[in-house]
Chain length 144, copies 2
DNA sequence: TTGAAATTGATAAACTGTCTCAAAATGATA
DNA sequence: TATCATTTTGAGACAGTTTATCAATTTCAA
């Protein structure tokens, strides 16, 4: 299981190398747990890992998830009072439809939008690495 | 100045009437200040209003901005660790191109993307109120 | 193997936003 | 306009989430 996510581990190692950071047991452990999720909060991951590693600190989870964001493996999304960490590599990139009333989240992908984004970027001399698109509104149930 | 935003004040009064709420000096004051912004945090509004009204409580700002959300005048968006209250009556929405190297921000608008967003939302039964689109990458200068 | 540098775990602290409650303000009614 | 039930306010306490602190431990280059 530990060598299942070779590519992502490689990305992490490269990031660590570039920034004089070190590979630790915790970082490996958290990476593997994280890559099994689509998105998760630090708190949820803390409780999940507490079963196998009761002494893993919450602060370490936060630090490590933020590290993953720096390395481009995760993306933080602030919603309500919590932060969700999205697994960027797990699937293709997905954007979000968010109901501001019931907090329901629908994920979607739209090639045409992505293409237009590239176009806009190119027109401004930018090369896109990642993006974030969130549509806020009311789902069909809450509109009534 | 106080009678500049007649339409929005009317919306507020209707909401208050419907819910057995009262029109107060603070609610008028905060509404007028809010409508001058495109989006603002409760904290920022607190400091801004403190100059003219040193005894306006932060809790009152929060309560009132949330009231505006209920009335449909504002919309809360979680941004970073803070909540920004968007002025819904402002329409000129702009998106952002952000250089991850030099932090330069370029604003843009793209009608076609907006149209596709509506399409995606409709397909999922959503009615969009606002959205956020951020493209992260390297600007032409930083790419070299 | 050694040792400088980074990391960890535990917890304190910071931050944002909500709750509490006595005092004040509102507005419907007389 | 005076009355008064109801709502609102201000100030601070409080709660939930995330970051900072720091001594002890771990990593990894030499």
């Amino acid at each position: 299981m530990a060598n299942k996510h070779v590519k992502e581990m490689q990305v992490l190692k490269e990031h660590l190398g570039k920034h004089q950071l070190k590979l630790t047991r915790q970082r490996e452990l958290i990476l593997n747990a994280f890559l099994r999720q689509e998105h998760i909060t630090a708190e949820a991951m803390y409780h999940q890992l507490a079963k196998s590693d009761p002494h893993l600190g919450l602060a370490t989870i936060y630090r490590t998830l933020n590290l993953f964001c720096d390395a481009g493996l995760a993306q933080a999304r602030h919603f309500g009072s919590q932060t969700k960490y999205d697994n960027v590599s797990h699937k293709g990139h997905h954007d979000h439809l968010i109901c501001t009333s019931c907090d329901q989240i629908v994920e979607f992908e739209n090639e045409e939008i992505e293409r237009l984004q590239e176009e806009v970027a190119a027109r401004n001399g930018f090369t896109i690495k990642t993006h974030r698109l969130e549509l806020y509104g009311l789902c069909s149930r809450c509109r009534h």
